[in-house]
């Protein structure tokens, strides 16, 4: 007999906590592997990754946790960013004082902003290192080509996010960094000016105006950067990140040496699978056969472990580690905030954010090559990589083994020697313009320290490719020298460039204005 509705209502109300728990966790916390699988299948976030992951994927020494650090930083950035948006006012009149308010009177405001700043730095570093890790382990190869390209997109979006956030406080630092950025966008003018066709087609001017909404950094630029920083780019990044994760699953997990799953190889150390107990009242059938050799078709016992809890532990631990690091940094080191933006008092030197300083150094040789030419060459080379170096037995092995490790160290030595040598030459001797004041600008665009470096790097890469008769060795040589160049140029621009982009050994030697 049915209970009276009121009694039923009271009873339902009483049993709601238990029901809620059942609805969320089904049969409580999972006890067996089957229940864990069930839980993974039925949870959106858990099911983004496989139910079982390869044991090798959990190795510290392989992934260094860099992808998770980048993801964790992004989540921290989202949370702190939303908190900052509550108080931030995107207008040139109010932006600066709203940041001051966040620093001075909003409860926990200063640490929120500091953490946002540090997490941004860490995300950029983690994304760059993650890319280096994927490169040096050869993980861009089939079937990971598409994910390598998405990763490249994620790198660009990360840099764009960080850069667009720079201007928002509307202080001298961000204002002049944005001005530098806008001038880099304008750099195709160097070519059109040299050809005398700027009045007909002004690509540089168009790009700058598109970025700023005006011919100089002001209200419109601030609103544009705000929109990009808070809406468009985070959305784009979230989508790309989702695809990036999903593709890891589709590509059979992250890369690993194929010898791990080959019975008979010395690396083959399988784990004993847990005993699978069929669920009550369920029937099981083969739903799909996945293309390819993975996941672990034909190799038993399997080399995989349950993602829940092992992968989850690793992810949560790295997430907490990242949180702890940004909190420590944010607690002791304040995010910079200079004077209110002042268009009549230029910062000298006005420096771009650190990750663009290498480019700014190149821009000081040739605006077009540094701002557009060389970055385009680098991005295109990286994008072509998985199609030029497609397959090999050394996938999943750092540097592809001893030979690659040797090429790596040799490339570091070569890259350092060449880059430092050219920098010393340029700083002490000058360049074409100092010797031939009337030289045509196009000559400088084609022949400047930046392009000379690119040519030397390319030569080194081809030299190694031929020497070892291996595309992979050529790629390692190329990637390593570019990485060394990036680090050295960034270092020189950050530490040794002072007012008017002159060379100084240390900041203390700068003439005080």
């Amino acid at each position: 007999m049915q209970k009276p509705a009121l009694a039923q209502f009271v009873e339902n109300l009483k049993s709601t906590p238990g029901e809620l728990r059942r609805a969320l966790l089904k049969n409580g916390l999972p006890k067996s592997e089957r229940e864990r699988s069930h839980m993974s299948f039925h949870n959106f976030f858990l099911h983004m990754q496989s139910v079982k992951v390869h044991k090798h994927s959990l190795r510290w020494s392989y992934t260094l946790g860099l992808g998770i650090i980048a993801t964790a930083s992004f989540i921290i950035l989202l949370v702190t960013g939303i908190l900052l948006m509550v108080y931030y006012k995107p207008s040139t009149d109010l932006a600066y004082s709203s940041i001051k308010d966040i620093n001075y009177v909003v409860f926990g405001g200063r640490i929120t902003r500091n953490v946002h700043r540090w997490a941004a730095h860490i995300m950029v570093i983690a994304v760059l290192l993650h890319m280096a890790r994927v490169f040096f382990t050869g993980s861009y190869r089939r079937p990971h080509e598409v994910n390598w390209l998405i990763g490249l997109g994620l790198l660009v979006v990360t840099l764009a996010l960080s850069f667009t956030g720079y201007i928002l406080p509307w202080d001298q630092l961000g204002y002049w960094a944005a001005t530098i950025g806008a001038n880099i966008a304008q750099s195709p003018r160097e070519i059109t000016d040299a050809l005398g066709i700027t009045h007909i087609i002004d690509i540089g001017g168009l790009q700058k105006e598109l970025l700023l909404g005006a011919s100089f950094v002001d209200e419109d630029a601030l609103l544009r950067f705000y929109m990009l920083h808070c809406i468009f780019l985070p959305l784009l990044l979230t989508v790309l990140m989702g695809v990036h994760f999903w593709r890891i699953r589709k590509d059979g997990g992250i890369s690993r040496p194929e010898s791990l799953d080959r019975p008979g190889s010395p690396d083959y150390k399988p784990v004993r699978p847990g005993v699978f107990q069929p669920g009550p009242g369920k029937t099981y059938g083969l739903m799909a056969v996945v293309k390819g050799t993975r996941p672990t078709v034909g190799s038993a016992p399997e080399n995989t472990v349950m993602a829940l809890p092992h992968l989850l532990y690793a992810e949560a631990a790295v997430f907490m580690l990242t949180t702890a690091i940004v909190l420590v940094l944010g607690f002791y080191l304040n995010a910079p905030l200079k004077e209110l933006a002042n268009p009549v008092v230029p910062e000298n030197p006005a420096k771009a954010p650190w990750y663009f300083l290498g480019l700014q150094e190149l821009v000081s040789y040739s605006a077009f090559m540094g701002g557009i030419g060389i970055p385009t060459i680098v991005v295109i080379s990286l994008a072509l990589l998985p199609f030029l170096d497609r397959k090999g037995s050394d996938t999943g092995i750092w540097f592809g083994g001893a030979a690659g490790r040797k090429v790596f160290w040799q490339s570091i030595a070569f890259g350092t020697a060449v880059t430092v040598g050219l920098l010393i030459f340029t700083i002490t001797q000058g360049w074409l313009r100092n010797w031939f004041p009337n030289v045509h600008q196009l000559v400088i665009v084609v022949f400047n320290p930046g392009t000379v470096l690119v040519v030397l790097y390319a030569w080194w890469s081809i030299f190694n490719l031929k020497r070892h008769n291996s595309i992979r060795m050529g790629a390692i040589a190329m990637f390593t020298v570019f990485l060394v160049g990036f680090i050295l140029l960034t270092y020189v621009a950050a530490i040794h460039r002072g007012p008017n982009w002159e060379f100084y050994w240390s900041h203390s030697q700068w003439p005080p204005h």
Binding site: A324, V328, E339, P511
Partner: protein, 476 residues
């Protein structure tokens, strides 16, 4: 074939990492909460409440002291774009009972707050500093990224000049500022610097000098604190010690005068304030500027001429500008044609450092220039004898005579040396033949210019003078 022990917990390391990281996060969150709750201003307000309780004499004031609420306090003045949280620590700023307490509890000195209540004026419009900040160090902002750090007490009068006529504050609490304004008008600062459109062109205009930020100044040789006011003080002590290329002569000021002028400099701004903040004396000052009184030539001379020409009766060599500065008063000018001096004053003299002073250039009104010229000519001897050649002279012969007699002082081709420039269009236009020839013939009393034709017509002959004039007239 080795098989991993399935019971071995492969996530052990991660669990430890998670535990340690979580503990660090927890500790830091506690630290964050602590630093956000136990703030400098809360401690000060609690101390202030104790002071209130100790000073309470009757039941009512004891009750109000007990109910004193510890909370963030700020003066928000949208008209002045000020949000000043200074009163979160200086809670007793307008409480006369706190007159003898130590800072930050002490009452504001003097009676200034009676006419300038905190609620209407805030704090930073006078004291500068960072009103948004809530700690002492950041509020003063002397060594912070803040354009306008808190002014030292002895210079704070500068801010009175924002709404008051500096000169009217003499004896009304603004003696230092008033003295600075007076020095500015009497020490010839306007000879080189414009203020309100009136002044020379050799130095920079000073209209917004008080709003300069430290990054706009040359700091290479500045000793001591890197603040705008310290720069101004050191610059007044010795301009070339701070800016080696400066043309400014050492103003030879006493220390109190330096303080006064620095105060006045800091008061100069092009900022505008709402009408209700402008004092009546400021309105009177503006009125006097728009409807000026009869020009006072002596005062004008001191303002605009003195610092280069000094008394004006002697030509002199100026070490700083490395130039000859001519005499502009005295009997030598008696032979100048009518309008000569006036033209020189109005238009200046190209090729020299003498700027034009007419309304659009140096900002002087016609009546003022007329008065100034009359002042310059006063006491000149009446013209006795003027002589001008009747016929055209021989330029090339004149050139030879110039090389022998004139070039040593007036420079090759009249470009100037230790004597005035002759190859200047404004000189060529304004000087008549008779003026030039008579000056060469008779010399210029009180200056280095000798007479070239002595009594009895020794020295240069009339023919020589005619040829010389022809050459001088050919100068461009």
């Amino acid at each position: 074939m080795p098989i991993d022990n399935p019971d071995q917990d492969i996530s052990r390391g991660m669990k430890w990492l998670m535990l340690v990281s979580s503990l660090v996060v927890l500790a830091l969150l506690v630290g964050v909460i602590k630093s956000n709750v136990f703030t400098e201003w809360r401690a000060h307000q609690k101390e202030y409440r104790k002071l209130l309780l100790a000073k309470a004499e009757d039941e009512a004031s004891r009750e109000s002291a007990k109910s004193f609420d510890v909370r963030m306090q700020q003066a928000v003045v949208p008209e002045l774009k000020a949000t000043d949280r200074c009163i979160s620590c200086h809670t007793g700023i307008d409480d006369p009972r706190m007159a003898d307490e130590k800072q930050p509890y002490r009452t504001h000195s003097g009676t200034l707050l009676e006419d300038h209540p905190v609620g209407k004026f805030g704090c930073t419009v006078c004291h500068r500093g960072q009103g948004l900040a809530v700690t002492n160090e950041e509020a003063k902002a002397v060594h912070a990224y803040w354009d306008y750090p808190m002014l030292p007490d002895n210079l704070t009068q500068a801010s009175c000049g924002l709404c008051h006529d500096p000169k009217s504050l003499k004896g009304r609490g603004g003696n230092v500022l008033a003295r600075g304004a007076e020095l500015f008008e009497t020490r010839g600062c306007r000879s080189c610097h414009k203020l309100g459109g009136r002044g020379g062109a050799l130095g920079i205009a000073l209209d917004n000098e008080g709003r300069k930020v430290i990054h706009q100044l040359v700091l290479t040789d500045l000793k001591g604190e890197h603040t705008v006011w310290n720069w101004l003080v050191e610059h007044f002590r010795d301009p070339q010690a701070i800016v080696p290329t400066s043309l400014m002569r050492n103003p030879t000021l006493t220390e109190p005068e330096i303080e006064a002028l620095t105060t006045y400099m800091l008061s100069l701004t092009t900022q505008t304030f709402p009408n209700e903040y402008i004092a009546s004396d400021k309105v009177e000052q503006k009125y006097a500027e728009i409807y000026p009184q009869k020009p006072d030539a002596e005062k004008l001379y001191a303002q605009f001429c003195y610092s280069c020409h000094e008394s004006g009766t002697y030509g002199r060599w100026d070490k700083v500008s490395k130039r000859f500065i001519p005499a502009i008063r005295g009997s030598g000018l008696a032979v100048s044609p009518a309008g000569f001096l006036e033209k020189q004053v109005r238009l200046g003299r190209e090729g020299t450092q003498m700027p034009g002073w007419h309304q659009q250039a140096g900002g002087l009104r016609d009546a003022e220039i007329t008065a100034l010229v009359a002042y310059l000519r006063a006491g000149n001897q009446p013209v006795t004898e003027m002589w001008a050649p009747k016929s055209a002279g021989d330029i090339s012969r004149g050139q030879g005579l110039y090389a022998q007699n004139c070039q040593g002082c007036h420079g090759a081709a009249g470009k100037g040396g230790i004597a005035p420039v002759l190859a200047s269009p404004s000189f060529q236009q304004a000087a008549s033949d008779a003026f030039i020839v008579t000056t060469v013939r008779n010399g210029r009393p009180d200056t280095a210019m000798p007479a070239f034709q002595r009594p009895g017509k020794t020295g240069l002959s009339d023919k020589d003078l005619t040829d010389l004039l022809a050459y001088v007239r050919s100068m461009k």
